[in-house]
Symmetry: C2
Subunit: 109 residues, 2 copies
């Protein structure tokens, strides 16, 4: 594990997809939103964020469009595609299944 783990490996795609499912947003905003909603428990490093966005776009789960941010900055706005929504469903189910399984193990007396 890296010195400072701020995210459960493998859940970043899920977190991004879920965040974009509620509202299209630029990349920096996604990171802010995740951090804020998780009450600072999750930190999305930029070096993780942008490669992840690129990955999701390449798989056509999100779509990008240049625009202007609320602060009048040049920003890339991402939104979920239809297949992205399906992927989100799948990943949420996976998360549920696997995290429940971990909890099962941890709760053994």
């Amino acid at each position: 594990m890296a010195p400072s783990m701020e995210i459960l490996q493998g859940t970043l795609d899920l977190l991004i997809l879920k965040t974009l499912a509620l509202e299209p947003m630029h990349g920096w905003g996604v990171a802010q939103r995740i951090q804020q909603v998780s009450r600072e428990a999750l930190q999305v490093q930029q070096g993780s964020l942008y490669p992840a966005l690129y990955r999701l776009e390449r798989k056509k789960w999100i779509r990008a469009e240049w625009g202007a941010s609320e602060n009048n900055r040049r920003a890339k706005f991402y939104s979920l595609t239809k297949t992205g929504r399906q992927q989100l469903e799948r990943e949420m189910a996976d998360w549920e299944r696997l995290s429940s399984a971990v909890t099962l193990i941890l709760q053994r007396a």
Copy 2:
């Protein structure tokens, strides 16, 4: 992510530590136990298992001893050390914190 994800990345150490905390066990048994308790949701590949055990031993969180299995096979029995128990506490707390954070994100309407 690898083609078939059978485990949440980063949780294997935690699962092993927890399993050994309840009962010392040989490596193969640990994998069986995890699979069984998780009702087949978690699959521990041998190529993940043994490197993980070696890693934990190197960090002195577990201790190994050769013995004979219930089937009269030569087997390496692992048990938790004192620092291993502390590590387990830490990792359980981390898991709780991070998985709750993920759930927070996923539950947003």
